[in-house]
Symmetry: C2
Subunit: 250 residues, 2 copies
């Protein structure tokens, strides 16, 4: 399995519009440091699965037929905004899976176009996409939100965003799994109190400590987290993701 | 006054995702033929006013302070989607004017960030933006929608999208005005029946005939209209707009 980080930014992205902090200035000077809306491409067993649709240039990135499915974590605009153009394509339908949230976002569910929204997924009910098993994992956020555990041939990738902490039953399912690569929301640097609806690094490190994955990859990064990273090191086996980077579990 | 067409496409844009019609193929081969979400920049009396926020690269197009105001025609996603990134900027607030539609789009009104949503405009109640007078004109669409009449020093530009036909009182106000440049929704080529919520060319030509503007500029163009234009001519004083083109009324 391979996961490519297409976007690793929080809702504000990096650079933040008009911000001249050290992180935003660096990102404006060097496109490799930009962070677009949080999303990823999972390639597993011949399937190409888009995780969230917040990039607004999806039509240029993916030719018709390139994507076997879209998996949505939740219906916040930064995770679905790119689908509003894609839906009016003339191609074969693209199956879209996600949590039970009938409100969706704006008129996306009412006018789905070529997006074939499947019945809402059930928490902890695994299903197959090609040869990969996918398990929806409830997260803690301001809208119904799923993380996903992907498993194939004993290898595992968990994609966990947006969330603040983890619900106990989700943590328990992931605890002690072999060969686990964990990707997780780390919107903010260490805070006395974690931000509403998102992890800070303190929370992420506590989760990393408990679940003991092979690697913890930080995504959904805000510009303050990027500033913090200019002055601090991360512990072993905790890595910051960048747009365009990939990780393999094989 | 100068109006620059930033986007002249309908909700599907040109090219349509995955479409290989003559118009979409041409637009994929020649970027100048692309049509992005319908929007424009009005420059009048030292003010720069963005008409609709459907372009998703607004942060790259406009530095903080560049825009004096944003005028929204309505809250369909293709007219506001670019505001979801802009709102989380760190700059001075940008005044935003629009019709009375408390639903707005997704959580835009609930979490406005730096967007300073002003009280809804009143139909036919003129107000000043800098030295230009702006009159909101009710249109006929599936959401509350205003066109706008801009007037300065006896020159006039009317921006009328999205609409199917014109309400009688809006048509009556525009009828016979001197020095009028009219920009209008022409999503579709001539149809036996106009499409729901949008003009076809037959409706536009009837409006052009009645109002007798100096020029009628067609915008909010769909790929079928672009195909039609490859084989047909438009009447005198009726012009097709293109992304990046501008018109002056002075
Ligand atoms: Mn998010
Ligand atoms: Mn979210
Ligand atoms: Mn429209
Ligand atoms: Mn509309
Ligand atoms: Zn910043
Ligand atoms: Zn086409």
């Amino acid at each position: 399995m391979q996961l490519t980080f297409l976007g690793t930014g929080d809702v504000r992205q990096v650079p933040v519009y008009g911000c001249h902090c050290r992180a935003c200035t660096a990102a404006r000077d060097d496109a490799r440091l930009r962070r677009r809306p949080c999303s990823a491409l999972l390639e597993a067993g011949g399937q190409r699965i888009l995780l969230d649709g917040g990039l607004t240039d999806l039509a240029e990135r993916f030719a018709p037929g390139d994507l076997n499915a879209i998996l949505l974590t939740h219906y916040h605009i930064d995770h679905v905004q790119g689908l509003f153009h894609l839906r009016w394509g003339v191609n074969d339908a693209i199956p879209v899976y996600g949590p039970d949230d009938r409100d969706g976002c704006a008129d996306l569910l009412k006018h789905p176009g070529i997006l074939d929204f499947r019945p809402p997924l059930e928490p902890f009910e695994p299903f197959m996409l090609g040869e990969a098993q996918v398990t929806p994992l409830p997260l803690q956020h301001s809208k119904p939100t799923f993380g996903y555990l992907f498993e194939q041939d004993g290898k595992r990738i968990a994609y966990l965003t947006d969330t603040v902490g983890l619900p106990e039953n989700t943590a328990r399912l992931l605890e002690g799994l072999d060969e686990l690569e964990m990707v997780i929301d780390c919107s903010q640097p260490p805070r006395p109190e974690p931000p509403r609806n998102h992890n800070d690094l303190n929370l992420v490190l506590a989760i990393h400590q408990r679940l003991q994955p092979k690697t913890t990859w930080l995504t959904h990064i805000g510009h303050e987290m990027d500033q913090w990273l200019q002055d601090h090191e991360l512990p072993d086996a905790v890595l910051i993701a960048r747009d365009g980077q990939w990780l393999r579990s094989e």
